[in-house]
Structures are given as structure tokens and as C-alpha cells.
Symmetry: D2
Subunit: 136 residues, 4 copies
């Protein structure tokens, strides 16, 4: 039910402690969010610029379970935990070769890109999200 | 009681929606964490490399209240909400000219940089943190 | 004659080799370019959004002399080596405590932010740049 | 003769002018350098950590020809223009759907990762590089 994408961890993604800098992991979750749209018929750029809907994060909760390192292929499973009228909560589970590394719940608002005001999630995206809705 | 630092928001910090990319805001919180040590007698690099203690984030909760933009001077107030034996929870309140923009609670573990294992927070840092402890 | 600004090198600026990731140094040069405007009466955001002039890099040449590390205060001296009708070449000299670390020549075009087309550098900026013009 | 890799340009890669922030393009060139090793039998992390050879950039020259945007698939062709005893100059040509966007010549030194001193390029990498040597 979850959508999976895989990202390559780069030489420059690590910090002084030689593990991936944690704000970079939040960036990876956003890349997975883009892939979620891109790979399921809704190129994310088109969603924003042509369809006219944006999805700013309003709340983020993340747990870091084990280090991610340069050279890792990071698998990220994306699902939807809550689907409201004007917002949705996505769940991300990141792992490397089956080892759990980080997880997040990110709530995004749906906004009109012209006004930056919250709007109801359009049916086409509600349908997309509901295909990945999980309990929990 | 909170420690305040101010960061300059840069041209390259924005994303396609022309507001600061939200993982970048998490980076700003980490910069404030570094300044917290640096400006209070414990240069953060020395803490890691000479004192030998690291502070990896294990849990992050963030709320985004209003957009941050290139050219803004971002004030970040840092305080401590919880002080455990081996971990501490820092609170960050970010604002621009008094307007609330983002807030976070970030729990860090105290580790020995040689073994990457959790250890008790040394007294010198416990004392530093407790000076900024707030009820939360 | 050169304009000097100082930037703090951060924990997350290093890469797997535990020195600053070199594309990040190019970012520092851009921060110095922003400061050059900001600190001399032309807030860079206003230059772009109100005055309506942009300065995209068209050519970059950089030499890396010695490593830059997390915790360093990076001094960057900015001067102007060439001042054409529609473009200018800035010179950056980066050092840490007097030790030379990196240098760059970055040529920027002057564009109209509405059309993204090259235009003549307006007198107000020509004057600003010429105050920092050096031979060489 | 050139090695080609393709990178996805992300939402967060753009700057306030809504084109890719140019230091980010230098990062893309480094990603292509990593892929050059990874995809030809020498995982870049192993090269550094097990083989013990590092490749810091000592000189970078880049030209920016046309904008790169979020959502673009950036093709980067990597070849070798010069192959010295202790250094090599790589050439990068970046394009989007055949449109030329940016090019670079990046000279890297070969160093021993234990001493950070320059050493002769080992035969195994000399052979790899020479397979991509072009007249330049």
C-alpha cells in the first residue's frame, strides 16, 4: 500500500560526525514526497505550476533510529495516515537494506499557489492519497 | 532565560515556492544549537573533538506558523524543556521582527564520540542546560 | 578597497572527508556577494525585488588552497576585477586567521528580473562596484 | 567515451530567482563524479574508506549557459581532459533534453586519506580515467 522510492546518499550529505546531517534526512523525506507525485502520474512541478496547488509542511515529527551514511541506498516508504479536508498527514519510513533508520509524520496543508491560502484538497489528489491510506 | 541568536536568511535558502525550504529551517535550529554552546563558553567544535561528547538528534517536532523569506533576520530563542540523565529536549522559537515563524522541540542524546554510545550528560553541560531550563 | 565579511562555518558544512564540502565554499562566496550589497546600502533582496536587477553567475573560477573546517570563522574579501557594460567580475579571497583557503573569480551578468534578459549595469551599482575595483 | 549519469532536480534546489542555485550545480557535478566511480566497479565510498584514496578539488572552472529548473532531469556527461601523475582534470557537460545548461572543468588531486598528502594516482584508477580521456 505504501509507495517506495530509493535515494542515493551522497558524499556531501554527511556532517562532522560522519553520519548524514539530520536536516538532510528531512530533505530526503521531501524528495520522497516529490517522487510520490512524479511516479504516480502527477509530476510535482506540474501540480504546483499548472494545477496550482501547493503542499507546505505545517507540522513535522521525526524519529532517528540508526545512522545513515554516504553510499547508502535509502529506501523510503510513503503512506498517508490522515486525510482531512484541507490537510493530509504523510508517514515516511526510511531504511537501509531493511535496517530502520528514520521515520516521520509530516502534515501538509493544501494551498492555492496564487493566494497561498488553504483550500480543500481536490478530488484527483484525494483519490491519489486515499490509495495509500493506512491505519495508524 | 532563553538564549537568543540571530541568523541571516540567504538567497539560496528559498525553494520553488519562494519561501524558505522547510528542511533548511531545521538546519537553522541546529545552527542555533551550535551558537548556544559557542556563545556560552563551550565552542561546539571543542565539545565534540576535545571534550569528546556528541549530541545527535533522536526526536524532532516542528511547527511552521508563517513563512520565512530571503533577507529576513531570523531570531531564534533556545531553551531547555527536559533534562534527563542521558538526553535533553531543547525548545526553539523562531521569529522575524516579533512575528512567530516556526517552533521546534528537539531531543538530543548525549554520546561518547569515540564509541557513539549514550552516556550521562557531564556536569558541566548539565549546569549549562539547567540555566536555560523552562517549564514546558 | 576590498569589502570584508566573515562567515561562521557550521557542523553540517563538512563532508565525509571532514573538511568543508567544496560546493559549499561556492555558496559562501555567494553569501559574501549578498553581504557586499546588504552592508553598503543596497539590501540584496531589495535590489532584486524592488530595483528589479538580478546578477546570475555566468562564469566561475575557483582555487582551493587549504582546508576549511567546521568552527572556522571564514573571512572573505570581495573586490571587483572587471567592470563591463552588462557584466562584472568579482574576486573573492577567503582566509581563516590569515591563512589563505580559497579564492574565486565569479562573473555575473546584470539582468532585468522581469525579462531575465541582460541589461546595462545601472549607474548606482556601477558606482558601488567601481569603489571596489582593483587591478589584476 | 564520456560516462553519462542523470540526476533529478528537486523542489529545494532552486533559489529566490526560481532557477537552480548555482553552487547546487557544482554539487551536481560532484554527484556525477561519485556516479562515475560507483557505476564502473569502484563504489566511491570504498575508494575513500577501503582503498584509502581521496580526490579533493583543487581548481574549478564553470560556465553557466542556460537555467536549470526544478523537475528537470539533468544529464551530465563526464570525461577526462588531463591525466597527470598526481592529479586529473575532469570535464562535465550538463544538459536538459539536449539543451546545454552548464559545463565545468574540475581538477582533483589524488591524496592518501590517512595523511591528506598528494600521491601518484594508482594504476587501477589511471586505467579507469584513461578510458574516458578525450582531447580537450
Amino acid at each position: 500500500m505504501a509507495f517506495r522510492t530509493t535515494l542515493r546518499v551522497r558524499f556531501g550529505d554527511e556532517d562532522h560526525a560522519r553520519i548524514v546531517y539530520f536536516p538532510r534526512i528531512i530533505h530526503f523525506f521531501h524528495c520522497a514526497f516529490e517522487d510520490f507525485f512524479d511516479h504516480q502520474g502527477h509530476p510535482y512541478r506540474r501540480v504546483l505550476d499548472e494545477d496550482g496547488f501547493g503542499w507546505p509542511a505545517v507540522h513535522v515529527e521525526t524519529d532517528f533510529h540508526s545512522p545513515i551514511r554516504f553510499g547508502d541506498d535509502l529506501d523510503i516508504d510513503v503512506s498517508v495516515a490522515e486525510l482531512g479536508t484541507k490537510s493530509a498527514t504523510f508517514v515516511y519510513e526510511a531504511s537501509v537494506g531493511g535496517r530502520r533508520t528514520a521515520s516521520a509524520r509530516i502534515t501538509v496543508a493544501c494551498i492555492d499557489m496564487k493566494t497561498f491560502r488553504g483550500v480543500a484538497i481536490p478530488d484527483v489528489f484525494r483519490e491519489l492519497f486515499s490509495r495509500h491510506l493506512v491505519e495508524g
